[in-house]
């Protein structure tokens, strides 16, 4: 195995008879140089270049610089979902892959590449990797199995296939006793992912158990942002098991942290979820206020995020019988989803369904039932979004009822019931 960057700097500094303060002078602090030499700090490219110039060597092109330590650092950046830094380090690793002698590391790099592609939204490449990794998975060690299942789970989560994501995370959980990098952080991150996927698959009890486990770890490590995210997940779960008091408490904890950190992303989520909680308590005015707050903070966001409060506001006004305002938010929603492929968000179908409910038309030549049967329901079935499927089945049943097709109506009501019933068996 080659020597690492810190060692290379130290050896060349000593060769040039330089002290740490002489080399660091005018570039970085002595303590930072010391950290680099000890391998506890990863300096940016510019610093490496300047140190190399002073030592009269090219530190950047040296093929010997990729070591297990560099690779483990990349794994850690991925664990923290640090996109920019993980791209930078991956490019370094990729260009010097031939210097990695450790076969075990090569296999782990390949497995981590799966999540790397999910993180940079290259889903096509991620899919190809799953296919090739699947072939060699029989020879995987327990450590490799852990990462493989976790990252396959991440791939499915990103594709809105939450039930499949959850299944894979639970598979990964079986290997948490194997040797993992950053063991404790890694395991609790998996718990957090299990909680998220369970929440998305409408399994509030499971989500609650795992978010509490993750929260304990993040609290003891003072990771406030993650603590707030766990509180939000707990709030959603409490709300779904009809414990609105604890739900409110959890959201308030999250808001306090978001305020302290000045974290807008967390605030958006808090407002959105408190809006949902108020809506459930039939406090419609409060619900609208919170949804509006959530909307105001998202004006510069990407469309899939912007349409969440737009959809909630449309539905809230519709529920109140305020068709003028419902129409206003519907139009905005329909405008926003124009440039969005249907696979990007479940809200896209929601606007089309409400277009029918509010305007009495689907906006195309297709009738409402054909649109539901040919597009919406197969999409939800593919993604295993059963809760949402029950919701749309109900609207299809109501459509048939309004058109006096009672036999079809009762058939789809039964389907909706059965879908919900099957979910409670999960």
């Amino acid at each position: 195995m080659g020597i690492d960057l810190g060692q290379a700097i130290k050896i060349n500094r000593l060769k040039s008879n330089m002290t740490q303060s002489e080399l660091a002078s005018g570039i970085i602090s002595v303590s930072y140089l010391s950290k680099i030499e000890n391998g506890t700090a990863e300096p940016p490219k510019e610093v490496i270049e300047l140190l190399g110039e002073k030592l009269q060597i090219n530190l950047l092109d040296s093929e010997e610089l990729i070591t297990a330590q560099t690779i483990i650092r990349w794994f850690h950046l991925l664990l923290q979902s640090n996109v920019d830094e993980s791209i930078r380090l991956y490019n370094r690793i990729k260009n010097n892959l031939s210097s990695v002698i450790d076969k075990k590391m090569l296999s782990l790099i390949e497995i981590h590449k799966l999540y790397y592609n999910v993180l940079i939204s290259d889903m096509e490449e991620a899919e190809k990797l799953i296919f090739s990794l699947q072939k060699s998975s029989k020879r995987f060690t327990e450590t490799e199995m852990y990462y493989y299942f976790k990252f396959v789970g991440n791939y499915h989560y990103e594709k809105l296939e939450y039930k499949r994501a959850l299944d894979n995370y639970q598979q990964a959980e079986k290997y948490t006793k194997s040797d993992l990098f950053h063991q404790s952080e890694e395991i609790h991150h998996l718990y957090y992912l299990i909680s998220s996927a369970a929440s998305k698959s409408r399994q509030p009890h499971l989500s609650l158990i795992y978010s509490i486990k993750a929260l304990e770890y993040y609290q003891s490590n003072y990771d406030l942002k993650k603590c707030a995210e766990c509180h939000i997940l707990m709030g959603i779960s409490y709300q779904r098991v009809k414990d609105s008091q604890n739900a409110k408490k959890s959201y308030n904890y999250a808001i306090n942290i978001a305020d302290k950190l000045g974290n807008i992303e967390l605030l958006k989520l808090c407002y959105q979820n408190i809006g949902s909680l108020s809506s459930e308590a039939k406090e419609h005015t409060d619900a609208i206020i919170f949804y509006l707050k959530s909307y105001e903070l998202r004006k510069e966001d990407i469309i899939p995020r912007r349409i969440v409060p737009v959809s909630s506001l449309m539905k809230e006004y519709y529920k109140l019988g305020d068709i003028i305002n419902a129409k206003l938010w519907l139009e905005l929603g329909l405008d926003l989803i124009k440039a969005l492929p249907p696979t990007k968000s479940v809200h896209i179908y929601e606007f089309k369904v409400f277009q029918y409910l509010i305007n009495g038309t689907t906006g195309t030549n297709t009738s409402f039932d054909i649109f539901m049967l040919h597009e919406v329901l197969p999409f939800l079935e593919r993604k295993q979004l059963f809760y949402e499927k029950a919701f749309y089945l109900k609207h299809l049943a109501l459509y048939y009822r309004d058109n006096r097709k009672y036999k079809l109506s009762s058939y789809y009501f039964e389907e909706a019931y059965q879908t919900l019933e099957a979910m409670s068996d999960i």
Binding site: L119, S199, K200, I236, Q239, S276, S279, E280, S312, A416
Partner: protein, 45 residues
């Protein structure tokens, strides 16, 4: 007589179907608020 019997069955059928549908609709309505309004944090944020 036949007509009266037919009308009776038709009314009973409509009554039962209508009742069934409106009960199902009301029960399912309570789930609506939880559909797609709450939002989990992005796990890779």
């Amino acid at each position: 007589m036949k007509k009266a019997l037919l009308a009776f069955f038709l009314i009973t059928f409509l009554f039962l179907t209508g009742g069934l549908i409106s009960t199902a609709s009301m029960t399912l309505n309570q789930y609506d608020v939880l559909v797609l309004n709450d939002e989990e944090p992005d796990p890779w944020s």
